[in-house]
Symmetry: none
Subunit: 128 residues, 2 copies
């Protein structure tokens, strides 16, 4: 597929798809015309890129990580063991942030529960 379709299907601006390519995150084929030609699997890849970016990883890190992710989707493993420690570190960062947010949410729940229940929507709040 061409860049327009990939953009539409992922909701990611074409500009960014080109940028990700420039950063080594995507390597679409090129038609004779010069047009980029993406695989079906790139839709997924782009979603992953966005997810990692929003978790605070930068494109350089993602570039190191992505081949591994790819591989998993496929099955063979050229792997990048030298960055695994780094990834574990990143994972911890994320975990700590999650815990932080969960604590905040619990606190918030306490406050909400302490309020007179008679008001507002009786909105079903599942006990987390």
């Amino acid at each position: 597929m061409r860049i327009g379709e990939l953009s539409r299907r992922t909701g990611v601006h074409e500009r960014l798809l080109r940028y990700y390519e420039q950063q080594g995150l995507l390597w679409p084929e090129r038609a004779a015309s010069g047009y980029r030609s993406y695989q079906e699997s790139d839709v997924d890849t782009v979603v992953r890129i966005r997810r990692l970016l929003s978790a605070g990883l930068n494109t350089e890190t993602i570039a190191q990580v992505l081949p591994c992710v790819r591989v998993k989707a496929g099955n063979l493993v050229p792997v990048c063991p030298e960055i695994v420690d780094d990834l574990r570190h990143q994972r911890e960062r994320i975990t700590r942030a999650i815990e932080e947010l969960q604590e905040s949410r619990d606190l918030l729940d306490a406050v909400i529960d302490a309020a007179p229940r008679t008001l507002s929507s009786p909105a079903a709040r599942v006990p987390a």
Copy 2:
């Protein structure tokens, strides 16, 4: 305490402490001189801010989340019912942030697991 000490104790550049204040993340008292005067609890707050930032949240999101955390430091909460709906929205925001981070973490896990286990610290990663 004044800004220098807070900076030293948190390892966060003074410039950033002022920036966080400007973004509504901190609201230190002011001495007659104009000097900022921070609470002991701000040390903790700053650590939290840094944690959330490094997980990819922006200052605006953190500003929405942080007041809930404050509540804990204070401990009592005079909740006026008209803000309860607001709190529920905050809760939803937090939940969404948590979910996104969890997805990102899952993705990292997939990558980490795909690497040969023989290397790096055998670090006990609990299955979430």
